[in-house]
C-alpha cells in the first residue's frame, strides 16, 4: 500500500508546531512515531493535507523528576527508550504496560504520547479502503450504521492503548499545549466513551508531558492477546494498590480494550477495599467485574469471552498486587 500525497512540515519548536496545526483548521495531523498514523493513511482512514513532524521537539523530550517525587515524561519519548529508564523500570506495572505495546520494532519508533492518542479500533474500519468500501460507510466513516454491532446507534470502537489503563490507574495527568496556551488534564478525563471522538484534545492541541505522581504502593499490568508480541489485546487490566499488601487502603483497577475509553472496575475495587486481598476475595472481585463492564460489545471477540478474559486477568492482577514487593516511586 502506498501513502497518499501530503505536505510535510518540520517545526523548530512546540509553538511552531501548535501554530501550524491550528492554522490548518483540522486539516493537518501531528506525526510522532507514525506507527499507527502511517497505516491509517495507507488505509485512507484519514486524509490530512499536511503532516507536522513533532518527533524530536525538545519540549516533548526527556524523563525528569516531577513534583513531589513523581515522574515527568516527555510525550515524544520513544517507548523503547522509556523501557531502559531506571525510574520506569522501578514502576513494574508501567514498565509491563509499555512493553505490551506492539512489538520491539513498533516500540523503536512509537512514542508514549502517540500510544495515548491511539485511535479507537474495530474489525470493520481498520482495514484497507477496498475492504471498507465493499459496504456502506459506518458511524466512524460518516455513515449511519455500525457493521460490527448492527443495533448500535453510535461508534463503539475500542481503545486499545496499553499504556492508557495503567497510567489512569497511576493517576497520571497530561500537560497539553494548544493555540490558547497550556493546560493540565487528568488522563482519566482525556478519554470519553465515544468511538469517534475518543479524546478531548482541542484542535491544534498536543500532549507535551505525561505526569505520573509518586505512588507509595505497588503497580501491576496484565494483557491477553492472540500473540504475546504485536497484537492488540482481547483485554488488558492495570492496577495500583497502596497500603499493606493484604489490606490495601487504596486500590485502582482499570481495564483496557473493553470500551472506547479505559474503564475503572469500581465494584471489584470496593470489594477488595472492604474485605482485603485474600484468595476468596480475589475470586469474588474478579466475578464483580461483570457489573463494571456492563454491556461489552462484540469487537474482535464475543462479549461473553471478553468478560471471561477480564475476570481471569483481574484475578491474576490482584494476586500480583498482593504478592509483589515493588514500592512504586
Amino acid at each position: 500500500m502506498q501513502l497518499p500525497p501530503f505536505d510535510y512540515a518540520v517545526p523548530r519548536n512546540l509553538a511552531e508546531a501548535v501554530d501550524r496545526l491550528a492554522a490548518s483548521a483540522g486539516n493537518a495531523a501531528a506525526l510522532a512515531g507514525g506507527t499507527d498514523l502511517l497505516v491509517n493513511l495507507k488505509y485512507r482512514l484519514v486524509a490530512p493535507a499536511a503532516l507536522v513532524a513533532i518527533r524530536g521537539l525538545p519540549e516533548l523530550r526527556g524523563v525528569r523528576d516531577g513534583a513531589g517525587g513523581g515522574l515527568d515524561i516527555g510525550a515524544g519519548e520513544l517507548l523503547a527508550d522509556l523501557l531502559e529508564h531506571p525510574r520506569i523500570a522501578a514502576l513494574g506495572g508501567l514498565h509491563a504496560a509499555i512493553r505490551a505495546v506492539g512489538s520491539q520494532h513498533i516500540r523503536n519508533l512509537g512514542t508514549l504520547g502517540g500510544n495515548l492518542c491511539l485511535p479507537t479500533r474495530c474489525w470493520y474500519t481498520n482495514q484497507s479502503e477496498a475492504w471498507r468500501t465493499a459496504r456502506t460507510p459506518c458511524w466512524k466513516t460518516e455513515g449511519l450504521v455500525c457493521h460490527v454491532i448492527p443495533s448500535s446507534t453510535t461508534c463503539r470502537a475500542l481503545n486499545s492503548a496499553d499504556t492508557a489503563p495503567m497510567l489512569v490507574a497511576l493517576g497520571a495527568s497530561l500537560v497539553l499545549r494548544g493555540p490558547r496556551g497550556e493546560r493540565a488534564l487528568p488522563l482519566a478525563d482525556f478519554y470519553q466513551d465515544d468511538g469517534v471522538n475518543q479524546h478531548t484534545l482541542q484542535p491544534g492541541e498536543l500532549i507535551v508531558r505525561v505526569l505520573v505522581p509518586a505512588v507509595a504502593g505497588r503497580s501491576a499490568f496484565r494483557k491477553l492477546a492472540a500473540r504475546t508480541g504485536l497484537d492488540y489485546g482481547y483485554a488488558s487490566v492495570a492496577g495500583v494498590a497502596i497500603g499493606p499488601a493484604r489490606r490495601p487502603r487504596e486500590l485502582r483497577v482499570v481495564a483496557g480494550s473493553v470500551a472506547s475509553r479505559p474503564v475503572r472496575l469500581r465494584h471489584a475495587e470496593a470489594l477488595v477495599l472492604e474485605r482485603g486481598l485474600t484468595p476468596e476475595t480475589i475470586e469474588a472481585a474478579a466475578e464483580a467485574t461483570r457489573a463494571d463492564l456492563g454491556e461489552v460489545t462484540n469487537l474482535f471477540s464475543p462479549p461473553g469471552y471478553k468478560k471471561r478474559v477480564v475476570r481471569g486477568l483481574v484475578a491474576k492482577l490482584l494476586a500480583d498486587l498482593a504478592t509483589t514487593k515493588e514500592r512504586a516511586a
Binding site: D7, G34, T35, L38, H105, N108
Partner: protein, 171 residues
C-alpha cells in the same frame, strides 16, 4: 500538491543526495533509489518485519513505517551492509549453519532484527531473543531454527569478544 526535495541519506556508509516527495517511504528509497532490494516489502503495516533495517541508534526500524524525509541527514544499515570484507556477519553465518531459512523472503528482516538486538544486547538471553523476534515473522518454517541461530550468534560474538580481550584460547 506535494513538493519534491533533496534529502541526504547514508546507507551502508554510502552517502547520497536523493529526491523524495513527503509520502515516499524509507523502504521505497532503499529499494528503488539505492537499488538495495534485500529489504523486502511485506505487509506495509508494521506487522511482519520483513522491511526491517537498522537505524543510526542501532535499533531495528520498520522501513515501511518511516518516511524517507524523516531520515534526512541520518544513516541506516540494510542487509547488504551487514557482511564485512572478512565475510559473513556472525548472525548471517549462524542462520546459514542452522538452516534458519526456507523461502528466504523474511530472512533479511530476521537477520537485521537479530543483529540489532545483539549490537545493543550482546548477552541477549532466550527471552530477549523471543521478544525481538515477535515483530519479525517467518511464514514458512517457524522460529525454532531462527532462535537456535540467534543463540549460536550470541555464543560466537561472546567468544570473539573474549578472544579480543584475552587472546586466542589455549589448548
Amino acid at each position: 500538491m506535494t513538493h519534491r526535495q533533496f534529502i541526504t541519506l547514508t546507507v551502508n556508509g554510502d552517502r547520497r543526495e536523493v529526491v523524495v516527495t513527503p509520502e515516499m517511504l524509507l523502504l521505497d528509497v532503499l529499494r528503488d533509489g539505492f537499488g538495495l532490494t534485500g529489504t523486502k516489502r511485506g505487509c506495509t503495516s508494521g506487522a511482519c518485519g520483513v522491511c526491517t533495517v537498522q537505524g543510526d541508534d542501532g535499533r531495528a526500524v520498520l522501513s515501511c513505517l518511516s518516511l524517507a524525509i524523516q531520515w534526512d541527514g541520518r544513516s541506516v544499515t540494510t542487509i547488504e551492509g551487514v557482511a564485512g570484507p572478512e565475510g559473513l556477519h556472525p548472525v548471517q553465518q549462524a542462520f546459514l549453519e542452522f538452516g534458519a531459512v526456507q523461502c528466504g523472503y523474511c530472512t533479511p528482516g530476521l537477520v537485521m532484527t537479530v543483529k540489532a538486538l545483539l549490537d545493543r544486547t550482546p548477552a541477549a538471553d532466550a527471552a530477549a531473543i523471543d521478544e525481538a523476534l515477535a515483530g519479525a515473522i517467518c511464514r514458512c518454517t517457524g522460529h525454532i531454527k531462527v532462535k537456535e541461530a540467534a543463540r549460536q550468534a550470541v555464543l560466537r560474538l561472546q567468544a570473539a569478544a573474549q578472544e579480543q580481550a584475552h587472546g586466542p584460547a589455549q589448548g
